[in-house]
Amino acid sequence: MYEHDVIVVGAGGAGLRAAIAAHEEGADVALVTKLHPVRSHTGAAEGGINAALHEEDSWDLHAYDTMKGADYLSDAPAVDTFAQEAPDEVIQLEHWGMPFSREEDGKVSQRPFGGLSFPRTTYAGAETGHHLLHTMYEQVVKRGIEVYDEWYVTNLAVTDHDDPEDRECHGCVAHDIKSGEIAGFHANNGVILATGGLGQVFDHTTNAVANTGDGQAMAYRAGVPIEDMEFVQFHPTTLPSTGVLISEGVRGEGGILYNDEEERLMFEYGYANNDGELASRDVVSRAELTEVNEGRGIEDEYVHLDMRHLGEERILDRLENILHLAEDFEGVDGLDEPMPVKPGQHYEMGGIETDENGETCINGLYAAGECACVSMHGANRLGGNALPELLVFGARAGRDAAGKDLGDAQIPTGPSAESEDGDVDTPVSPGALDSTDGDAVADGGAMADPETVIEDAVAREQERIETLLERDGVNHAEVRDDIQETMTANVNVFREEDNLKQALEDIRKAREQYKHVGVSDPSRTFNTDLIHTIETRNIIDLAEAITLGALAREEFRGAHWRKKHQERKDDEWLKHTMLQWNDGDVNLYYKPVMLEGFDQTYEPKERSY
């Protein structure tokens, strides 16, 4: 068994920031990560990091923009904390050497971005995420923080009290990919999940192959509610053949969207008469798909994003990376021709419910970054807000887990007297198939000491892995394909009741099939067949959660659009969708949105761009 004060699962932006913060508080911290840190998908972020740095800008304007972009489904304490602390975090990165793009006077450049009332997006060429990731990994190396690299965390070690809020997380179980060793990790102070996005639930996504939502699924099955899962952001400009993202920066610099009649669609068809191409992502994504559905798409699939008029010099200076992407992954020269683009899954707004200190309702279990939902992106995330979020809340989670007193959190976690029971008609029952499939948390008993809880968890994971290795069964890839297909067909930008129900039925079938999967690679050495098979289980649980949330929420808000309910219904739906896995039974409830901020109470207004 390995032992540390703080165990951080995942070493992308959120995990690295959390580890550095915990280390600065004097904790013995370790990163356990399935990919080497620099391989994390934070490295793919192109556009930028929002922070109110300029003296004419202010954090409350940033908070306001964030809340408006979120369609008022964010919790104000999270939004205000975020906007207040983002500037310090960005300057901290600069002090760590991040190569930001600069102005003539040597200051960090800032540019306009969709949904922002002030040009407050800092960036480093078109490779912002790459530089953020590497800069923080360098600081991890500098501090000598231990990294368990290519260790796959398969489950959490949590006590099995009936009420999740009484449970305690003592560590996790991980599988050393290279050797096949399965080991327990004991965290004296806390475990921080920082496992990133879940794009692999869909088949057209900007996310990496490793973004399989492991953290969300592990926390969910341990009893932590997952929040607002139906809010999935589709990015309007991804390359049709691969899903590779063409940054919003192109539109920020003045790139224009055209349909097959070479009309400037955002204005021509009134999708966003003020902001045009810079309207928020859900608006632009739906606009593009509407064009395609109404027959004005190119090859019935995509639209054109044109940046040629910006001129070669400006493109090379600010958007050079985009030229390489279009060339390498679509065979298009962006200096010469418009680039084909279509919407693709991009970001999951929902996730593991946490408070503004990163903690979940299970004692000692934290989450930060894309896998978490402190609830600041609400129904729709603004471009450039995810990176500062993982900095602010990664750092807070790290500090809190290391024992620093950040004060009482205002955001409540776990079901409470304020919660409202939920009700949704599903064609098949969701959740586990039977008790053996429930992934109940530790059965070491509520009173067991931490070592026993971890040892029991290790034994269970060993058994699960042995079964998968020994079983002569179906290849997981088939099950994964079925899920991805139904999600893309039925739980996309446009959502209808019948389709959502169809998806739930398909997911249930996939769950049945999963009972029969087996790993055909018999090796203990670098068995990616095994890893992918475990990931597929996580994909099933999360696909179901997204679809359940989408079916329950009968309104149109932010990224979530329902054919029969095309308006935002504040009277009824100003609340978070919560799903809790009670040893295999899925419980749906709602939690009110908090609109009371530090200095202002946010008034829901129409979101017009």
Partner: protein, 288 residues
């Protein structure tokens, strides 16, 4: 949650009589048959196919302890990358085929491979640009863990050896005050900051192959990135130069340009190494 469950016959009557094991094998057989049919149809449909010859090795699996090459025929379409082809082969023929990959867009540096005799990123290499059959091997000069996966530990050790972190004399203490850096200086180090730690350069380098302690192009480039950053102080620069001019440092480089040729991020590695040699001379550091 109240759920209305329509009881549905999801299971095939016939199969229901079987034991779970039998049933599983039955499903597997059916699925395998369907898959084989699908592959056949896809190969038929595709206007062209390509043959991959892929290096296989697993120290603990019978029949794989001796390295061998397996052939996979994959349907070809325009825009297909080597990574796409490998994924196709794995998901349709042999799920034990093992290779690292994640981002699919040349930023994570996971899939540097030896493809038709050259170090390249699988995700950034178009199948259409290569001659058939396509030979795919793990990076040379590194220990093979399994199939196309090599041990990267040594590469990471070398990267860590150059103190790869920003270290200014002091940072401004004013509220929200950044260090200043001219756009020119940022431009100067720009290419050096693009490294994605893929290891292609190191694998292509003859010197590194012969001298295991040689820092190698990527680590030297990392040192360059900081030594040339005007935000760091003069003393720190001297220390950095001392690290890279040691016995297994820049003077080992014989300017063969192989690293520069294979770098997927177009970093002018050899130039950077040469420039550091000149800096070291300027600073009167001793020669090896």
């Amino acid at each position: 949650m109240s759920t209305q469950i329509e009881t549905k016959e999801t299971e095939d009557e016939e199969i229901e009589e079987q034991s779970p094991g039998e049933r599983r094998r039955e499903i597997k057989r059916q699925r395998a048959e369907n898959r084989a049919k699908r592959v056949e149809a896809e190969l038929d449909e595709a206007e062209q196919t390509r043959r991959l010859k892929v290096f296989r090795y697993d120290p603990e699996v019978e029949g794989k302890e001796e390295p061998r090459f397996d052939d996979f025929i994959v349907p070809f379409h325009k825009g297909m990358t080597i990574l796409d082809a490998l994924i196709y082969a794995r998901d349709h023929y042999d799920s034990s085929l093992t290779f690292r990959h994640s981002c699919r867009q040349a930023v994570c540096g996971s899939d540097a491979l030896f493809i038709n005799g050259k170090q390249r990123l699988g995700c950034k290499t178009q199948v259409g640009d290569l001659e058939d059959p396509i030979r795919i091997e793990p990076l040379p000069h590194q220990d093979v863990v399994k199939d196309l996966v090599v041990d990267m530990e040594h590469f990471y050790d070398q990267m860590h050896a150059v103190e790869p972190f920003f270290d200014p004399d002091e940072t401004p203490d004013g509220e929200l005050e950044e260090q200043r850096q001219t756009p020119e200086n940022r431009e100067y180090v720009k290419m050096a900051t693009r490294c994605i730690w893929c290891g292609a350069c190191m694998s292509s380098c003859n010197i590194a192959a012969g001298d295991n302690e040689y820092l190698g192009p990527a680590a030297i480039n990392k040192a360059y990135r900081f030594a040339m950053d005007e935000r760091e102080g003069e003393n720190r620069k001297q220390e950095r130069l001392r690290i890279i001019e040691q016995e297994h440092g820049v003077w080992r480089c014989q300017t063969q340009f192989s690293c520069t040729e294979v770098c997927p991020k177009d970093i002018p590695l050899t130039e950077h190494i040469q420039e550091l040699k000149r800096e070291a001379v300027k600073n009167n550091l001793k020669f090896w």
